[in-house]
Amino acid sequence: MSEGLLQIGATLVLMVAIVPFFGAYMARVFQGQSTWLDAVFVPLEGLVFRLGGVEPERQMDWWEYARAVLVSNIAMFVPVFAVLLFQGSLPLNPNNIPGMSWDLALHTAISFLTNTNQQHYSGETGASHFAQMVCFQYLMFTSAATGLSVGIAFIRGVLGRPLGNFYVDLTRSISRVLMPVAGVFAVVLLSQGVPQSLSGIAEAGLVEPYQTTTDGKTETVTTQKLLTGPFASMESIKELGENGGGSYGINSAHPYENPNPLTNLLEILLLLAVPTSLIYTFGVMAGNTKQGWVLFGMIFLLFAGLTGTAAVSEYFGNPAVNALLGSANANFEGQEVRFGWAQSALYATATTSTMTGAVNAMHDSLTPLAGGVALFNMCLQVIWGGQGTGIAYILVFLIIAVFLTGLMVGRTPEIFGRKIEQREVALASIIFLVHPIIILIPTALAVGIPGIAANSNPLYHGLSQVLYEYASAAANNGSGFEGLGDNTPWWNLSASVVLLAGRYLPIVALLALAGGLQRKVPVPETPGTLRTDTVLFGTVTAGTIVILGALTFFPAFALGPIAEYFANLAGKTF
C-alpha cells in the first residue's frame, strides 16, 4: 500500500506546488496587469475586439454580463449542433462516421457547451475528425473560458469591484491561460504517444490471428484497426479546461489518450491546475492570501480525505474476487495495468472533484466506497469544483456558513465587509436548490418509471448508475458509471435539461449575487467582525459543506453506494 500512497502523496505535493505560481499568474491576467505574453496578444486582442465590436474598457453590470454569457453561448451552440447533425457529409471524415440523431446531437452539443462533456456517443465511432475539432476542441476552450470568466466576475463582485467585461474575460481566459498552457502540454503528450493526425484507420496485421464466435458464426480475426486523429491537441485542453470529453469512448484509459504514468501524472496535474489555483487567485485579488490558503487548506483536507478513502477502498479490492483467487488483491476490474489501484483511485477523485469527468479507469467497476466518493464529489461540487464555478461555489458555501454561524458573534452576518441579507440568501439558495432538484427528481423518475433504467448492473449499483448519470450532468462533470445504455431519447433529453439547468441557473444566480454584493456599502472591519481567514472558520465552512452536502444526499447514498458496500463486504452478488 505504501508505494500507492507515496505516488498519491507525491502528486498532491506537485499539485500544491503549482498553485501559488499559477494562481498569482491568473490574478495578474484578470486584474489587467502585464504578463509576458502581452507582446503577442495585446495587438491581436485589440484587433479581435475591434472586429467583434467589443468595447474592452466598458464594465458590464451583472445582468449585462449574464446576457453576454447566455447569448454568446447560444451563438456557440448553433454551429456545433449543425456539424454534429451533418458530420457524415462534411470534410475530414476518413472513417465515414454518420451524422448523429437529433437527440444525441442536442445532448452532445449541450454537454460540451456546458463544460460537461458527458458523452452518450463513443468518441472513435461517433464523431468525425472535423467534429472532434470544430465541435469539441472549440467548445473545450470556450466553455472553460466561459466558466473561468464567470468565476472571476463573481470574485470581483464579492470583493466589491465592478464585474468586468465578459468578452474581455473570455478572450483573456483563452489567450493567456488556456491556449498557452494547453499548447505546451499538448506537445509533451504528443511526444509520449498521443496521436495527432487527420488520417483514417491504420490496419495492422495481427501477430497471432484468432478466432471469435459471434451469434454462432465463427470468424478469424487477422487485423487490428488502429484509429488515430487530431487528439493530442484535444487531450491537454480536455484536462486543463476541466472538460473531460474523450477522443475515444473509453477516455483517458485508452492507451492513445494516456499512454504511460508520465502522461497520467500530467493529466491529473492539468485537470487540477485551474480550480486549485483559482482559490489562490481569489486570495491575491482579495489582497489576503491567507484567506486564499485557508480556503485552499480546507478543500485540500476534504480532498485528501476523500482520495484516501477511495484509495484504501480500492487497495482492499473486491472480497468476492479475492476469495475466488485465494489471495489479497487490490481492485483490478476496469483498470489499466500501467496505472494500478492508486493512480486509478487518484484519477477518479481528481476528475470528479474538479468536474472534469475524464476517466482512466471504469468508475462503474470501482469498489462501492470509491465509486461513492466519486459520486459524493459531484454532489458537493466544491471540492475544487468546476472551471471558475468551483471557487464561486466555495465562496457561496462560505457565505452560507457565515450566514448560519456568523450570527453567533452577535452581528448580522457579513462577508468581506458586505452584509448578507435576504437577497443574498435567496440567490445562494437557488444555487443550493438547483442541485438536489436536478439530481434527485430525474433519478427518482428514471428508476420509478418502468423500462427506462436498462442498466448493466441491478439493484444498489443500478441505482448508483442512474444517480451518477444525473449528478454528473448536474455538476457539469461528464464522467459516467456508463453501462446505462444511455443513447436513447429519454437519457439524451432528460440529461440535456439537467445539463442546462445545472449550468446556467447557477451562473445567472452567481452573477446576480455578485452584482448585488458589489453595490452594497462596505462595512468596515472591527474586532467585532467575524474573520473568515482563520483556521477556525475554515473548519466551520468545511463542516457546513459536509453536513449540508451529506444531509441532502445521504438517503440516496444509503440506498446506493452504502448498501452496495455492505453487500460487497458480506460477499453478496446480484
Binding site: 451563438a75 476552450f141 495527432q196 480475426v221 473509453i250
Partner: protein, 188 residues
C-alpha cells in the same frame, strides 16, 4: 447596448473563436506534429521486417496460443476500432462468474492460479500490459511450449518489464506485444 448589437457581438466572437480554437489550433498543431513527432502522431505503429504494420506499441493484442504470453481478458477482444469495458460492478454476479471461469481455465492451462490482472478486464479493453507477476505465472507454460529454458524466458520478461516513472508513479508492467515479438525473435 442594443439587443441587436449584443447578438452581433456574441455571434462575431463565437465565430472568431470557432476559427481560432476549432480550426486553426488543431490544424497548425497537426502540421507541427507530423513534422516533429511523425511516429507518435500516427499511433506509434510497430512494423515488421517487411515494413508491414503489425500493431501499435501502445495497444494490446489478443494472444491465445500457449506459445505466447497472454494479455488480460478484454470485453471487446482487443478490437481497437471501438474501445470498451465490462462495466460490471463489484457486486455483479456476472463479474464473479466470469472471473471464476477465467481463473479455472487459466489454472487448467498453467497449473497455477492466475494473478488478478489476468482475470479482470481493463478499462480500455486494449491494455497492452500485464503485471510482472502476471507474466511470471505464464513463464512455465510459455517456456514449455517453446522449448526454452524458463530462466531464459524469465530474463526476457525482466528485460521487458518497465518500472514506475521516476520510481514513484504508475505500476511496474510488461508490454505483452513487445515481449511476444521478442520471444518470436529468439532463435531456437
Amino acid at each position: 447596448m442594443s439587443t441587436f448589437k449584443e447578438i452581433g457581438t456574441a455571434a462575431r466572437m463565437a465565430i472568431f473563436f470557432w476559427i481560432a480554437c476549432g480550426l486553426a489550433y488543431p490544424l497548425i498543431f497537426t502540421g507541427f506534429a507530423q513534422v516533429a513527432f511523425p511516429d507518435q502522431a500516427n499511433g506509434s505503429l510497430v512494423r515488421n521486417a517487411q515494413n508491414q504494420v503489425i500493431g501499435s506499441s501502445l495497444i494490446g493484442q489478443k494472444f491465445t496460443s500457449v506459445r505466447y504470453f497472454h494479455g488480460r481478458p478484454s470485453s471487446i477482444d482487443y478490437k481497437a476500432e471501438a474501445s470498451g469495458a465490462s462495466l460490471l460492478a463489484p457486486t455483479n454476479k456476472v463479474l464473479i462468474e466470469r472471473v471464476k471461469a477465467d481463473a479455472a481455465a487459466f489454472e487448467a492451462q498453467n497449473g497455477t492460479k492466475p494473478t488478478i490482472d489476468l482475470v479482470t478486464t481493463p478499462a480500455s479493453g486494449l491494455d497492452p500490459h500485464i503485471t510482472p507477476a502476471g507474466a511470471a505465472v505464464q513463464i512455465a507454460r510459455v517456456s514449455r511450449a517453446r522449448n526454452l529454458a524458463p530462466e531464459q524466458v524469465r530474463k526476457l520478461v525482466s528485460q521487458y518489464t518497465e518500472g514506475r516513472f521516476l520510481g514513484i508513479f504508475g505500476e511496474p508492467r510488461v508490454n505483452v506485444l513487445a515481449l511476444n515479438l521478442a520471444l518470436d525473435g529468439i532463435r531456437q
